[in-house]
Subunit: 396 residues, 2 copies
């Protein structure tokens, strides 16, 4: 196990009706004016936005609201939010929505108190020194941003979309209100995309070269197993609060690093996928369903026993002691079957991606013969190309 | 799943040599004078206490040290620490040791800033309104107090030892320094006692009447499984840093409520055991090894399927679909076998407890025909008596 630091001070308010407590939560933090960031019309139609605004106002907290966050959230809106937040002198930012709203709120909270272009932080040109605090009312269990230290924002520069992530302790939300009721109206496709995202967050941590990490291995397997046993029930019975609650909490644990401390993590698949969702504006989870099994096929020979452990412990497959690689491959096949069973795409054709765009993906990825991504197997340009081709050519 | 709040802001500094960072950690918290609480001579002999004092002094933090904490920590020392802390005007308390040192530090931190008898808080006569912050340098993975909101202190009143627990958000430590190297010198018996304590913390949460808690069930099973697969290796190979590290982190996760949120918890076995360790001054873990299987035998008929789940998922036993109770019983037997294999006692005789003292235990427990303990099965006086008798009469 590697040395680590773990600090996740987020206060979670989990359960029915908790969004009505947000006014008193923010007031107790001694904040007075909130920038409320949200996405489309669903939280207006459902009355959620109004409930949140009312709770804040009733507690004497002033509110400035702005919607318009889109999936794969854009820098353009962040700039607008920064201007608005500065003009209105807000002292706190609240996101109502899923990962896109939360990440937009994180970027705005950073930009409001730092001069210059906030995207420079995402391009790693400078380090954040200050940030407003952030609160969350979660409506989509998927990105795990409600408990994580990271955010991903996309910006068009010279005709190319750059999708960049930033991790900072400033980005760990102060609180997250999580009411599983709010997820009942999520369409099946979005629920499934969220599922893949959660599983990917665990798997990026699971495939590691760090030896002797029994406790976090077991935790990873626990979260994956719980997702696999509850999500099909959510899809069959979308109004079931209990299974929605399990999935929602699993999404937080998948990404708040409970499953990742003390071990080398990979994250190549997220980088590979970001180029797909940037180029084709597809859901991140859908792109991950295509890319993760492809990454697994390519990297499995590096450590077949780890893949066999995944197959047996997560999918309950029998270990083939004569040929562990057979078990390893069966685990990858089981993952693809699970993704397919919840309506996810499995290859380029399913998401409208084109094999001839691979050179462009590789360019945006910034890999070459020297510069690599990932840690389980460091992937240079050729390796990334090979993985994209597996994803393009997989047929079923 | 039940509504819950979860807030665990402790900063963990985990790994080799982290105790040397304590000076800068405390300084960054803007604290200036620390009351350092420790137990016996082991941390003096090993040089740990000196390293901690030196790190603090080098950072410009003043230190007042006092040792003498004993297992099943006593109120007497807490009163002395309160007087010392007030006299010296300390603004922070650091425990160096295991659960006894941490719980003593917590009680002292509470008493220093509150007038009147600190034990009134433990007797639930009043509610804490303020408390000094607490830091930990952990040397014994067991009690989980480094990440928990609770403390247990024992006081002699009218010739009887009252062992009382108090849970408060004030008791969640601000930081915990966890260096697995420091646990290498723990005797096998103490390692084993710690193991039982950790497992009991998970099992108190596992046996619940709350339905549909897949995610926390899986997490409980993950922590238990990891403990069961690593502790025997620790006992065979006490100098193995890697397995020590897994056990140490498992001990924190077992009790910081990661495994317990959103579900009814039991805690009867802890109450039953506290009377044993109060009467005979035995290690808490040893008492739990005697009491937990006895509690299980008594309560199993309430929900055999939950015990069968425990048996199959934690101990890998085959499910007997014709008679799940057989699997449930086999799980309890497997737990006893595991305890025995790591050198733990299994009945009253093993710990020098006497069946004729049961009436006294029941009196201290404060149960009668109406007043019960526990939630999985609320236990009145007769039920508690029956469980003590199982523990007394079990033979192997």
């Amino acid at each position: 196990m590697e040395n680590f630091e773990f600090h996740r001070p987020t206060s979670y308010y989990f359960g029915v009706g908790r969004e009505n407590e947000i006014g008193s939560i923010v007031k107790d933090l001694d904040k007075h004016k909130v920038l409320l960031v949200y996405g489309g019309n669903s939280c207006i139609k459902s009355g959620l936005l109004e409930r949140v605004q009312k709770s804040l106002s009733s507690a004497g907290v002033a509110v400035v609201s702005k919607g318009g966050v889109v999936p794969n959230p854009r820098a353009d809106l962040v700039y607008e939010l920064i201007d608005l937040g500065r003009k209105e002198q807000v002292d706190f930012v609240v996101a109502v929505g899923g990962g896109s709203a939360i990440d937009t709120a994180k970027a705005a909270a950073l930009g409001i108190v730092n001069d210059g272009d906030f995207f420079d932080f995402f391009l790693k040109k400078r380090q954040p020194k200050d940030c407003l605090e952030i609160g969350v009312v979660l409506t989509i269990p998927a990105a795990g941003s409600e408990g994580s230290s990271s955010a991903v924002i996309q910006k068009e520069i010279d005709g190319h979309f750059y999708k960049c992530g930033l991790s900072s302790n400033f980005f760990v939300p102060t609180f997250a209100v999580m009411n599983p009721e709010l997820t009942k109206t999520l369409p099946a496709y979005q629920t499934a995309c969220g599922t893949v995202d959660m599983m990917a967050h665990v798997m990026e941590r699971y495939f590691t070269n760090t030896p002797e990490v029994s406790i976090t291995d077991r935790l990873c397997e626990a979260v994956l197993t719980s997702i696999i046993e509850t999500v099909p029930r959510v899809l069959r019975d979308p109004d079931n609060y209990e299974v929605r609650a399990n999935v929602m909490w699993a999404g937080t644990l998948a990404h708040n690093d409970t499953c990742g401390v003390g071990r080398e993590q990979d994250w190549a698949t997220h980088a590979l996928e970001h180029q797909l969702s940037a180029l084709y504006d597809i859901a991140h989870g859908a792109g991950l369903a295509v890319m993760f099994p492809a990454w697994m096929e390519y990297t499995m020979p590096h450590n077949p026993m780890r893949f066999a452990q995944f197959a047996t412990r997560v999918f309950g497959l029998s270990m083939d002691f004569e040929d562990p690689k057979r078990t390893a491959k069966a685990g990858i096949a089981a993952l693809r079957s699970f993704f397919k069973s919840i309506g996810m795409p499995l290859n380029f054709a399913d998401i409208g991606a084109k094999e001839e765009d691979i050179p462009q993906m590789l360019k945006l990825l910034g890999v070459d013969s020297e510069r690599t991504i990932g840690h389980f197997v460091p992937l240079n340009r050729d390796a990334c190309e090979a993985i994209y081709k597996i994803a393009a050519q997989y047929s079923y």
